[in-house]
C-alpha cells in the first residue's frame, strides 16, 4: 500500500520536476559549458576549454560594477528594513478592515510589472517629470534626479519594501502574546520587552526577508537600466550588454554563473542562519 502510494506520488511529481530539470538545470549546465570557451565575440564558439572568461571578470569594468551593485543592494536592504519594521509592527497590531486594506496596499504593487513601476518613477524623477515641473511651477530651478544612483536606490527600495514588510509581519504574527505578558509580569518595561523579546523573535523573518531583498536587488535589471542608465551600471546590465551588444557569450555566461553562485550562497546562508536562529529561540 505504502509503496504503491509512493510510486503514484513519484509519477505525480515527475512533470513538475522535469520542467525544473529541462528549463533550469540543463540551461545552467549549458551556461557553464559556454563559459569555458575563450572570451570574445566569436561565432560559432570554438577553442578552450579554459577559464579565461572567468579571469576576464577580474579586469575593468567588472570589479567596480560589482562593487556598485553590491553597495546598492546592501543600501536597499538597510532602507527596506528601517522603513519596513515599523510598518510591519503597525500591520501586525491592526485587525479587521484596516488590516485588509493595508495588506491590499502592500500586495497590489507586487502584482504590477516592475517595468510599469520603474516607468512611474521615471515620470516622477525626470527633469520634465512631476518633481521637475513642480519645481518649475514654483519658480525654483529644475532638478532632474533621473539617471542617478539615488534614483535606482529609491525605486529598488520601493519595489522590495512589500517583501520585507510581509516577512517581518509573518514573524511578528507568530509571537505568542503570552510571552509578552510573561515578560511584563516579570517586571520588564515595555521598552525592554520590545528590545529583548520582540526584536529577537523577528530575526528569522528579518534574515529571510533580507536575503531575499539582497538577492533580488542584485538581480534587478529593469530598475537600474531605466532609472540609472549609464550613470549607475550594474552587474546584470553588463551581462545584458555582453549578450546583445558585444556578443561575448562566454564572458556573459561566466558573469551569469558568478552572480548565480553568489546569490545562491546568500540565500542558502540566510536559510541556514534563520533556521538555526529559530531553532535556538524556540528550542526545537
Amino acid at each position: 500500500m505504502d509503496r504503491s502510494r509512493r510510486r503514484v506520488a513519484g509519477l505525480l511529481l515527475l512533470p513538475a520536476l522535469l520542467v525544473v530539470v529541462v528549463v533550469a538545470a540543463v540551461p545552467i549546465g549549458l551556461l557553464f559549458r559556454v563559459a569555458l570557451y575563450p572570451p570574445g565575440p566569436v561565432a560559432p564558439l570554438s577553442g578552450g576549454p579554459g577559464l579565461d572568461s572567468f579571469a576576464g571578470l577580474l579586469s575593468a569594468p567588472y570589479p567596480s560594477v560589482a562593487l556598485r551593485t553590491l553597495r546598492l543592494s546592501l543600501l536597499t536592504t538597510v532602507l527596506v528594513t528601517v522603513l519596513g519594521f515599523p510598518v510591519a509592527l503597525f500591520l501586525s497590531r491592526s485587525r479587521g478592515l484596516s488590516r485588509r486594506i493595508q495588506t491590499l496596499l502592500i500586495v497590489s504593487p507586487l502584482l504590477m510589472s516592475v517595468v510599469v513601476r520603474a516607468y512611474g518613477w521615471m515620470l516622477i524623477l525626470g527633469r520634465q517629470g512631476f518633481v521637475g515641473e513642480t519645481l518649475a511651477a514654483l519658480s525654483l530651478p529644475r532638478v532632474g534626479l533621473l539617471h542617478t544612483e539615488a534614483a535606482v536606490l529609491l525605486a529598488l527600495t520601493e519595489s522590495f519594501l512589500p517583501f520585507m514588510i510581509l516577512a517581518l509581519a509573518a514573524s511578528l504574527d507568530r509571537i505568542d502574546p503570552d510571552l509578552l505578558a510573561a515578560a511584563r509580569g516579570l517586571g520588564a518595561s515595555s521598552a525592554r520587552t520590545f528590545l529583548q523579546v520582540v526584536v529577537p523573535l523577528t530575526l528569522p523573518g528579518f534574515v529571510a526577508g533580507a536575503s531575499f531583498v539582497l538577492v533580488g536587488s542584485l538581480s534587478a535589471y529593469a530598475i537600474p537600466a531605466l532609472l540609472g542608465g549609464s550613470a549607475a551600471r550594474t552587474f546584470v546590465m553588463e551581462i545584458y550588454e555582453l549578450v546583445t551588444i558585444s556578443f561575448d557569450w562566454p564572458t556573459a555566461a561566466a558573469a551569469s554563473l558568478v552572480l548565480l553562485v553568489f546569490a545562491s550562497t546568500l540565500l542558502g546562508g540566510g536559510a541556514l542562519l534563520s533556521r538555526r536562529r529559530s531553532a535556538r529561540t524556540f528550542g526545537t
Binding site: 503597525f90 488590516r99 485588509r100 510589472s113 531605466l226 551569469s256 546569490a263
Partner: protein
C-alpha cells in the same frame, strides 16, 4: 508609540502608491507634456492605443502566454502538490525546495540559459525555436509552477484529512475522493495559485527580455522599449490598464481566500522563504 508607527506606515504606503499614481495621472494628461498643475483631463491616449500595434500585440502576447503558462502550471503543479501533501514521500522538504528554487534564480541569467539551450537545440537537431513562443512558454512555466505548488500545498495541508477518510469509508474510490473531496477542499488554493501564476507571467520582464523578439514581444518588454521612444502618455495609458488589472487581481484573491493573510503557511521554522508576497496572495 502607536501614532509613530502609524506615521511610518502612512509614509511607507505613500511611497508604494507614488509610482502607480504618477503613471495614472500622466495617462489622462490632455497634452503630451506633463503639466503641473494639470490643465484638464483627457482619454485621448487610451483611444490612441489603437494606433500602437507593438503595444497592442504585446498585450495579446502577454495575455495568451499568461493563460497557457497558467494552464500548464496548474496541470503540472496540482499533481505535484498532491504528491507532496498526500504521498508520504521521504525528503519532502528537499523536493519542495527544488520545485520552489526557480523563484530565487536571477531572471536575466535564466533567460540567457534558456536562449543558450535553444541555440544548442537548433545546432544539434536543426529545430528552430528562437523567435517562437516556445522558449518564453518554457521559461514562464518554470516560474509559475512554484506559485501553484506553494499555494495548493498550503491549501491541502490545512484541509481536514478526516473528510477524505470518510469519503473512502463511505465507498468512494480514489478518483471520486480526489475529484469530489480533495480538490474541492483545495479550491481556494487552486484559484489563488492560478491568479498569482497568471499575474507573475503577465508582469514578468527580466526573464522574457532576452527571449522575446519580433512577434513574441511581451507587454512588459514592449513597454520597456517604448518608454524612451514615446515622449507622450501612450505608454502610461496601457500601463494604467495593467495597474487596474493588478488591483483587480489583488481584490479577487482577497475575495477568494478571505482576508488576505500575512500569516505564513503552516511554516516549518525558518525554511528559506521565497517571495514572502506569495504567502500573502495565498
Amino acid at each position: 508609540m502607536r501614532i509613530a508607527l502609524g506615521a511610518a506606515a502612512v509614509v511607507a504606503y505613500g511611497v508604494l502608491l507614488l509610482a502607480p499614481l504618477a503613471v495614472i495621472l500622466y495617462s489622462v494628461s490632455p497634452g503630451a507634456a506633463l503639466e503641473i498643475p494639470p490643465s484638464g483631463a483627457s482619454l485621448r491616449w487610451y483611444a490612441g492605443l489603437a494606433d500602437q500595434p507593438r503595444l497592442v500585440s504585446g498585450l495579446f502576447t502577454s495575455l495568451g502566454l499568461g493563460a497557457i503558462a497558467t494552464g500548464a502550471a496548474l496541470v503540472t503543479g496540482i499533481p505535484a502538490a498532491l504528491a507532496l501533501t498526500r504521498g508520504s514521500l521521504p525528503g519532502r522538504e528537499a523536493i519542495l525546495a527544488v520545485l520552489l528554487s526557480p523563484l530565487s534564480l536571477p531572471g536575466l541569467v535564466l533567460g540567457l540559459g534558456v536562449l543558450t539551450s535553444a541555440a544548442v537545440l537548433a545546432n544539434a537537431t536543426g529545430i528552430q525555436t528562437a523567435g517562437t513562443l516556445l522558449p518564453l512558454f518554457a521559461a514562464h512555466l518554470l516560474i509559475t509552477i512554484p506559485w501553484v505548488v506553494r499555494s495548493v500545498t498550503a491549501s491541502l495541508e490545512s484541509a481536514d484529512p478526516a473528510l477524505e477518510d470518510q469519503a473512502r469509508s463511505l465507498g468512494a474510490g480514489p478518483f471520486a475522493t480526489l475529484f469530489l473531496v480533495t480538490l474541492p477542499t483545495a479550491r481556494a488554493g487552486i484559484v489563488a495559485g492560478a491568479v498569482s501564476a497568471f499575474v507573475i507571467s503577465f508582469g514578468n520582464f527580466a526573464l522574457s527580455l532576452l527571449l522575446a523578439s519580433g512577434r513574441t514581444v511581451t507587454l512588459p518588454v514592449a513597454i520597456y522599449e517604448a518608454v524612451d521612444r514615446y515622449q507622450d502618455p501612450t505608454v502610461a495609458a496601457i500601463s494604467t490598464l495593467t495597474i487596474a488589472a493588478a488591483v483587480g487581481a489583488a481584490l479577487l484573491t482577497d475575495r477568494i481566500s478571505g482576508p488576505l493573510k500575512t500569516r505564513g503557511s503552516p511554516s516549518r521554522g525558518g525554511r528559506q522563504e521565497s517571495p514572502a508576497g506569495l504567502k500573502a496572495v495565498r
